[in-house]
Amino acid sequence: MNHSLEIKELKKSFQDFKAVDGVDFYVEEGKFFSILGPSGCGKTTLLRMIAGFLEPTSGSIKIRGDEMIGISPNKRPVNLVFQNLALFPMMDVGENIAFGLKRQNCSKSEIEEKVKNILEKVHLGGYERKNVSDLSGGQKQRVAIARSLVLEPSILLLDEPLGALDLKLREQMKIELKKLQHEFGTTFIYITHDQSEALVMSDKVAVMNNGKFEQIDTPENLYANPKTSFVASFVGETNIFEARLNEDRKSVLTKEGMNFKVFLVDEKIQTFCKLFIRPEAVVLLVDDGMEDMNYFDLTIKTILFDGSNTKVLANVDKSDHEIMVSLPQNRRFAHIKEGEVVRAGVHVSDCKCYE
């Protein structure tokens, strides 16, 4: 079976700078695939190569089995939703959406029909004659997506289209985009630097750094089993300890002088390593004595109240090292006060060590 998109050994250099440095992946038909990475990691370059606005230095890009290298952007069965949306300001909503259809020489009635249908699908029925500048941020978003989807591309590329929206709208649009993708069944390739966008919407996420993919996985796996220290620190919140590996290769001694039994993600670690512990992996008020648990005292410094996402900042044992711990959502820990000392523990499998 042909994959919707298949990329092999893709490279792009600008003079000496390797923007994309050998990327391999495939995307299955009808999936929501995200490329997540910090700014400057090469994700926009990668997207623009898929769209055809940049010529790769080497490698192959196949869409439904057909090689795309050397084919101009307008001949590729992909459409791009631009970061600034690029809605034509001199045309109304209907004309914007009809733009691509007119280029395919569709009949007038067919165009009208399609524009009407797609606008209804993106919940903007009857907006044909509205001026683009009169739309809200979220509506512009949907018009831009409709303008591309009306051409029924094999793949829809999205270049951080939520970046310009305010936080609340962004939360809504995340859900909306996911729904839209479900309804249309089109393959979406979405690039972003916002991990929550990627995790919420995607079937699969590729984490990109310095022009390379660090890990391609489902959002759950990415969060639960990061393969590299970059992924562990970039995806989700985490506490980091500098440490050195003990001889038994099953525990480490942190810089603060604490011993942790750990799980070695990276078998190649020699002596120095980094220990990662997620805030929600730390369990408060536990009983001592379980075999595969690490125990320590936490001195509560600050409570960061944020509704269901409330956390505390606390010092570990007697050291100055501060870690972040999530409070469970039940009100069991509502009584905790700043300055209190609490016994806490964390399971070995949640203490991950990376190079």
Partner: protein, 285 residues
């Protein structure tokens, strides 16, 4: 507003007011009044529309007027056609490395006096000029021909003189246009032709209009280029005004001509602004 700032306000306001009133408004009112005065048979100055009647009854006057208006429109259009590819190339096609250099190079000649530029064309084009010299030495021509003093050379000269005022607003409006509009249109399947007429031109319309207004106005009011490069039949309307003032010493008739020219240029500018729904302050800044 306290007394202090009130005082400050008048320090600025009075000179500006005097400037606008004494040097702009009053002289143009005087122009209108003078154009409405006519020396009757008794040698007295009386209010009359005779100067304007004169304009419409003498074919040479209104024909010149009409021809100049049409030529000015033609020059504006040609200037746009000639400079648009340059503006597009500099802003969108050429590597950004050369952009600054090309722009400086583009603006340089326009710092030099119009007279010098026209003179340059004269020594290139005239019968004993440089181009003729080359054409004859290369045996393309048997004997030199006069390439100056005709409508074509005059229009070329006017286009040359006006290019700057078109290319600068074009460059700045193309610069303000995000490349993603063109990419999006291309991605949606538009041809070059469609991108140009449906996306680029509408987007840069404000720049085109402000460039066109300035070029049109300068061409209409030009004196040097038509006078030095045009032929005997290429009389420009400003030359007729000059003749009335300096040669015939008929200031009232000249004032009427001047007022008509002012009216024409204001009218066309107004139409241009209305058509594109802009206002003067925005178009000129």
């Amino acid at each position: 507003m306290n007394k202090h700032t009130k005082f400050g306000f008048y320090i600025f306001f009075i000179p500006v007011f005097l400037w606008l009133f004494l040097l702009i408004v009053l002289p143009h009112i005087e122009l209108l009044f003078m154009s409405l005065k006519y020396e009757n048979d008794m040698g007295e100055m009386v209010w009359s529309l005779q100067n304007y009647k004169e304009f419409f009854s003498e074919e040479i006057y209104w024909l010149t007027f009409l021809r100049v208006a049409l030529y000015a429109i033609l020059v504006t259009f040609l200037t746009f056609v000639v400079t648009f590819p340059i503006a597009f190339y500099i802003t969108k096609v050429v590597s950004p490395k050369y952009k600054g250099f090309l722009i400086i190079l583009l603006l340089m000649p326009f710092w030099v006096s119009e007279l010098v530029r026209v003179y340059g064309w004269m020594i290139l084009l005239r019968e004993s000029g440089v181009i003729n010299y080359f054409l004859v030495s290369l045996h393309i021509l048997d004997k030199p021909i006069e390439m100056l003093y005709n409508d074509v050379s005059m229009i070329m000269g006017l286009v040359y003189t006006s290019m700057l005022f078109m290319v600068v607003p074009l460059i700045s409006s193309l610069d303000g246009m995000d490349d993603s509009y063109i990419e999006a249109a291309h991605d949606l399947g538009a041809s070059k032709f469609i991108i140009f007429f449906k996306i680029v031109i509408p987007y840069t319309a404000p720049g085109i209009v402000s460039g066109s207004i300035v070029v049109f106005m300068l061409t209409l009011g030009n004196y040097l280029t038509p006078n030095l490069m045009g032929g005997k039949n290429s009389l420009w309307f400003t030359e007729q005004i000059y003749n009335q003032f300096i040669a015939s010493f008929n200031w009232n008739q000249g004032a009427a001509f001047g007022f008509l020219l002012l009216l024409l240029s204001s009218l066309i500018i107004w139409i241009g602004l209305k058509l594109t729904k802009q206002n003067l302050a925005k178009a000129l800044s």
